[in-house]
């Protein structure tokens, strides 16, 4: 069974790779990011020669994108991916290459109608950060304000549209058999294409600016709309360091705890109050300041949760009764009903086991309010991974649940690296 279909998908991927756009295959890179482990990606990146590529390589490690969602939806529906497919994905080309100053200027002029010097008092020729579809430059406005200017590599949206139609054609067989669901491709195309329009990201930034105002320790950029377009995004420069640099300064346990609790609080505030996440809570999307402040960056893949999901989370978090009770079962069934789906028994059982083997331990419902969970102990990560694997092996896990699992994973990894001790139940209860 697996052989025939995995062959057709494998063939589709290699043919697709051969024919995909001049700018390289972003789809390929997106898939690559979704499925390759850290080790493979590192190995592939070390093989590149140019200085610019090497500089970008470090940034690439922290990037996430709509690709994660593609990976989530695919792996959910089709079970585990065959090794040959992973190998095929590993050979696909990276896209969104670095841009030299002349290309940046040409792209800027084409999009905003003027050279950077005509618009800004100062504009750095070399980028200071990579972005999934382009790169980010420092600039100073005529009013003296420090800004970050994100510029997209040319032709990506057009290439993507072509890549997706080719991908659809080449994977017809796999679609027919259900190995690659048609809806998953549509969903992902929407998400990735949305990422190519920086105006959507600007809208996301404005939204989170407003919504996260109650959290004093969170800083969100301000968009400068008059110098922004679908391919150029100008926003205030955020202060802080990435996690690696922050940890290198050997912060105290007190600072780590404070930061950990704030990250944790930010996550649940977003889920339960804002009902949206600014990004995959991977450490690449945050900057940390010395006073435990958190700056948010990269709003390209903001996720807006469904009402059904939020209700489910509100009723499920810190569930006081037994997870084996008919009431808890009803809770799960209702969620699926609200999403118009049926809850398969295997999935239901896996969800219950997840609650028992992981959530009960990390978020004990009847804990002492001052009890802190130590995220430095690696056991919890292992429990999480085991429970998730078991869950994803069943068919019929809602894509929102997969997304939630990935999002939590990102946060748990960050908390683990911080070795933070967090009053988990207390903080969740605050926003229930």
């Amino acid at each position: 069974m697996a052989d025939e279909h995995s062959t057709s998908v494998r063939r589709a991927l290699s043919l697709a790779n051969a024919g995909m756009g001049v700018a390289g295959s972003y789809l390929g890179y997106a898939l690559q990011r979704a499925f390759l482990g850290e080790a493979d990606r590192d190995r592939k990146l070390k093989a590149t020669h140019t200085r610019a590529a090497r500089r970008m390589a470090n940034e690439m490690k922290t990037l996430r994108g709509a690709a994660m969602k593609f990976g989530q939806t695919l792996s959910l529906q089709t079970g585990t991916f065959p090794d040959e497919m992973l190998a095929e994905l590993a050979s696909l080309q990276m896209s969104a290459p670095p841009m030299h100053a002349t290309l940046v200027r040409a792209q800027f002029k084409q999009s905003l109608g003027a050279q950077p010097e005509e618009i800004f008092r100062q504009f750095a020729d070399e980028p200071f950060a990579a972005a999934s579809l382009g790169q980010v430059h420092h600039a100073v406005t005529n009013a003296g304000k420090q800004v970050a200017v994100k510029i997209q590599y040319p032709g990506i949206r057009q290439s993507l549209a072509n890549d997706f139609s080719m991908f659809r054609t080449l994977t017809k067989a796999a679609q027919a058999s259900g190995h690659i669901p048609r809806t998953a491709i549509d969903e992902v195309e929407q998400q990735i294409l949305a990422e190519t329009d920086y105006r959507k990201e600007a809208d996301n930034i404005d939204f989170f600016q407003q919504q996260l105002a109650p959290l004093s320790f969170v800083a969100v950029p301000r968009v400068v709309r008059e110098y922004s377009s679908d391919k150029v995004l100008t926003m205030s420069l955020m202060k802080g360091q990435h996690l690696d640099d922050f940890l290198a300064r050997r912060p105290s346990q007190k600072l780590r705890n404070e930061l950990g609790e704030r990250l944790f609080e930010l996550f649940y505030f977003q889920l339960l109050k804002v009902e949206a996440l600014h990004a995959d809570p991977h450490w690449g999307n945050y900057l940390f300041t010395n006073d435990a402040g958190i700056s948010l960056v990269d709003f390209g893949c903001a996720k807006y949760m469904s009402q059904a999901t939020v209700s489910y989370l509100r009723s499920g978090f810190l569930y006081p009764g037994s997870t084996r009770s008919p009431e808890f079962r009803r809770l799960l069934e209702k969620y699926y009903e609200d999403e118009g789906r049926e809850l398969p028994p295997a999935t239901r059982k896996a969800l219950i086991r997840f609650a028992e083997n992981f959530y009960r331990k990390v978020y004990p419902p009847n804990a002492d309010p001052q009890a802190a969970f130590d995220f430095g102990d690696p056991q919890f990560l292992k429990d999480f991974l085991t429970a998730s694997k078991e869950l994803f092996r069943t068919k019929g896990v809602l894509s929102e649940l997969i997304f939630m699992a990935r999002a939590e994973m990102g946060m748990y990894q960050t908390l683990h690296r911080l070795k933070a001790r967090v009053r988990t139940s207390e903080l969740v209860r605050k926003y229930l």
Partner: protein, 191 residues
């Protein structure tokens, strides 16, 4: 100039007369001859402008002095295309055809050859600046190849219907990066 280019496009270069150009531009035929010797002169003048201003843009730009080869070449070709942009509607494949290396001899093609040599010498200088070692295996080929590359890029640009010619920008960047990488490789084999 625009009138001439419009007629070259619709009627073809050969069928266009200076009389027709004058009529379309709304001036006396004699006035045309005050500025240009013939229609060949007009077409060639147009291309000379394009090439000369692009070379000046690259040569006179202090920022490009330390830039890698692919960036200098990108700046050159991009400057050429920016010059041509307002006349895009009027430039036809036929005109570009007139600039091909194997044009028959005649005053027009002679000057065209001179223009081509001037341009390729400039490209050769740029390559030599960036890859100064003497034994460059592909070095002697590169300028000639570059002329054909330029014509290909021009055609690509003409037929590029993507918004803001995004595809052309990406095409130029990717192909020049590849080309420069090949030249660097070639250097090693030369030794």
């Amino acid at each position: 100039m625009k009138a001439a280019l419009a007629l070259f496009q619709t009627r073809g270069f050969d069928a266009t007369t200076t009389k027709a150009i004058a009529r379309k531009a709304g001036i006396a035929e004699g006035t045309v001859f005050n500025y240009f010797k013939s229609k060949d002169d007009i077409a060639l003048h147009f291309f000379e402008q394009e090439v000369d201003q692009a070379m000046a843009a690259v040569r006179d730009n202090p920022r490009l002095r330390k830039a890698p080869l692919e960036e200098k070449l990108f700046a050159l070709v991009h400057a050429q295309l920016e010059y041509l942009a307002p006349y895009e509607r009027f430039i036809g494949a036929a005109m570009i055809h007139a600039l091909r290396p194997s044009s028959p001899l005649g005053p027009f093609s002679h000057r065209a050859m001179e223009l081509r040599h001037r341009y390729l010498r400039f490209v050769e200088e740029l390559i030599a600046e960036s890859l100064p070692e003497k034994d460059n295996v592909f070095g002697f080929l590169a300028p000639e190849v570059f002329w054909i590359y330029y014509m290909g890029a021009l055609l690509y640009w003409l037929y590029d219907s993507s918004p803001g010619k995004q595809h052309t920008l990406a095409f130029l960047d990717r192909s020049l990066s590849l080309g420069a990488a090949m030249l660097r490789q070639g250097k090693q084999y030369g030794r």
